[in-house]
């Protein structure tokens, strides 16, 4: 397959997953804003979300103070924000249009329909759009896209490049969302275990559509350790870091087998997965959750770079 085609597929996966994360992040923010303000108060919590999504500087330059309505616009509709839901969907669709023939008609349809509906949403007065509807709309379309890929896309190299894009992005996003919770949101260490702490964990789980799943898996009360285990180390959790790492490794192994050539990307992904399998929540807490997540995000970036160098750059020999 052309390297450029593989690259487009890879980015379709990344953008779709990122669009979904942005919508989920907005949901987290809106729920947190419902809680009476503690510590720095409500404003700084929105600010934390902007920090976590890597859009704080862009937002400040455009709007100044973090006002919820503006944040919603910025994270959802704003084309000046390259990570907004609208920007991600538009670029995913543009990438899809370029490699139209590498996608099944159902996958293209899912992508194109999301884009056409987005245009309609943008024409509606903002006063008629509540946040819940916008996030629900986003997750519905990203789910339809995933469904179309799983149900119709041929299991060839193109499928693997889509999958690598999705899973690297998801691993990165889950790590960032988790990091927001622990590092940014909670104002002081002595809040750990407090009502606020629990509320934030449940909000995080809710944002990942994993609250009920958590109860099925663990039962009983939320504790930081349980939620960390769920989001990082439990292969049953579809958004856990270990689940994404496993999927990326599988896709890379299949590509290596198909092309008959082992790669650095494969080694790196395998090393990351093995480390996750070997570690425990206690070990993560010892290292420091933030330190652990930062390291994980960095490793994920390196895997993405190796994938690029080996397959997407067109420099492979």
């Amino acid at each position: 397959m052309l390297s450029r085609t593989a690259e487009n597929l890879f980015w379709i996966g990344r953008y779709m997953e990122r669009a979904e994360t942005m919508a989920r992040l907005l949901e987290v923010g809106a729920r947190i804003a419902l809680l009476p303000s503690v510590g720095h108060g409500y404003r700084s919590e929105w600010d934390s979300l902007l920090q976590a999504s890597g859009t704080a500087a862009g937002f400040a330059a455009k709007y100044g103070d973090p006002v919820q309505r503006n944040i919603e616009s910025y994270l959802f509709f704003d084309r000046d924000n390259p990570s907004s839901v609208a920007s991600c969907l538009e670029r995913a669709r543009e990438n899809g249009r370029i490699v139209r023939t590498a996608l099944t008609s159902q996958v293209w349809d899912a992508l194109n329909t999301a884009f056409q509906e987005l245009r309609q949403l943008e024409r509606q007065p903002r006063s008629e759009l509540d946040l819940g509807r916008m996030t629900e709309w986003t997750t519905r379309h990203t789910a339809m896209m995933r469904g179309a890929i799983e149900a119709t896309q041929l299991r060839q190299d193109g499928y693997d490049f889509l999958g690598i894009g999705y899973n690297l992005e998801r691993a990165d996003n889950t790590a960032r969302l988790t990091d927001v919770k622990y590092y940014v949101l909670l104002p002081r260490a002595d809040f750990v275990g407090s009502g606020l702490d629990t509320f934030q964990w449940t909000t995080l789980l809710r944002a990942m559509s994993a609250q009920r799943a958590f109860h099925w898996a663990y039962g009983g009360a939320f504790t930081a350790a349980k939620v960390m285990h769920f989001l990082i180390l439990n292969p049953a959790c579809p958004r856990a870091l270990i689940t994404s790492a496993k999927a990326t490794t599988d896709h890379l192994d299949r590509l290596a087998q198909r092309y008959g050539q082992a790669t650095t990307a494969q080694d790196r992904a395998r090393a990351q997965l093995d480390a996750l399998r070997a570690t425990t929540v206690e070990a993560i807490i010892d290292e420091g959750l933030h330190e652990f997540l930062t390291r994980f995000i960095l490793e994920t970036g390196e895997i993405a770079q190796s994938v690029h160098d080996t397959y997407l750059s067109g420099e492979a020999r």
Binding site: M1, R4, T5, I98, R100, T101, D109, A316
Partner: protein, 471 residues
Amino acid sequence: MADSIFNEMYDDGRVRPPYARLEDWVRAMPAALRAMKQAEAEALFRRIGITFAVYGEGGDPDRLIPFDMFPRVFTQGEWLRLERGIKQRARALNAFLLDVYGRGEIIRAGRVPARLVYGNEAYEKAVVGFRPPRGVYSHIVGIDLVCTGPGEFFVLEDNCRTPSGVSYMLENREIMMRMFPALFREMRIEPVDGYPELLRQTLASVAPARCEDEPTVVILTPGHFNSAYYEHSFLADLMGVELVEGADLFVENGLCYMRTTEGPRRVDVIYRRIDDAFLDPLCFRPDSMLGVAGLMDVYRSGGVTIASAPGAGVADDKAIYTYVPEMIRFYLGEEPVLRNVPTWQCAKPDDCAHVLANLGDLVVKEVHGSGGYGMLVGPKSTRAQIAAFAERLRAEPGKYIAQPTLALSACPTFVAEGVAPRHVDLRPYCLVGEQTLLVPGGLTRVALSEGSLVVNSSQGGGVKDTWVLAE
């Protein structure tokens, strides 16, 4: 003029046989059903993503070209004659190209003026003396035809470079078959869906001398911002070949390769949908981001075939057009089956004087223009417009040619009030490789506003499915 317009459905007030079944079809279709079918067709087009402009007219990339459901029908007999004329013309044009980049016999014989060829902007000095595989320069020849009466066909222009619009021919048919299967069961309509495979075979048949295995064919597109990108990707898909951009290709050790996830893969035949000027920055435009550095050297050394061949444009110039009947006689020793529209070359003082004196009756076009822009339709223009055009013509006569306004035939077309005749033209796509091939069909363009002769989609034109009935 209105009295003399040939309506292809009727002859002396009686329905012509090929349209007989369609008369019942229209009569039996209530307005509500028709509206529903029309909406269905549009939804299909939008869903498939065909929203591009034909013939490089630009405009909104998401714009739909109006599709008219009333098909245009040819009998087998009519088509056979057209086919003979089209193939004849495609062969003559290729013979001309091979000649003018070779010995230039037709010029030595005084049949075509040297100035028009060697002084032509489209004459490519970089390929002089090079003989492309099988001696073919133009592998896809699009010939624009109009009809003025039963069996009366005229060629409006030739397109030897990269004629577009063939995806419409294919998609119009798909959509008609999906919406009106009964018509296809009852009328015996020749299929056109073999085109992509014939195109692939044609391109494979002109693989370069140094190609050793089964040739690898690719389509080279300027990219997804191009208005015809849909067509490029559509054809690549149906042909089962890669759609590449300039940056996907590179030259090494005298051969051309594409960048793949498994490393470099050799490319043998490039069906390019970009202009000559953008093929190779080392040979043509150093500022081009679209091309492949060193490609022309590989081409000239027989390492890769470029279709259409660089330089093919010299044959489809509006000034050269006048000489195509002469080419047919000169190279093939045959009389032309299809007629040219009488054309005055404004570069010639006598012709120019005649044109200036008769502007009100003529159509005046720019020699290098396309898309229906920059032209004057005398009978449809005001005095002021004619006077203003005369100024421009006097200033640069060499830029213009003039033709009489033809009484273009009309086909029944769905309009707001029901069905009414609208003017049409036809572009068939002739393939030239090991064989000269023509699928039975083409793209019919229709001028949707009443009385209009301009079929260009940028100016209110639409498209129709074109049927050739089997014997």
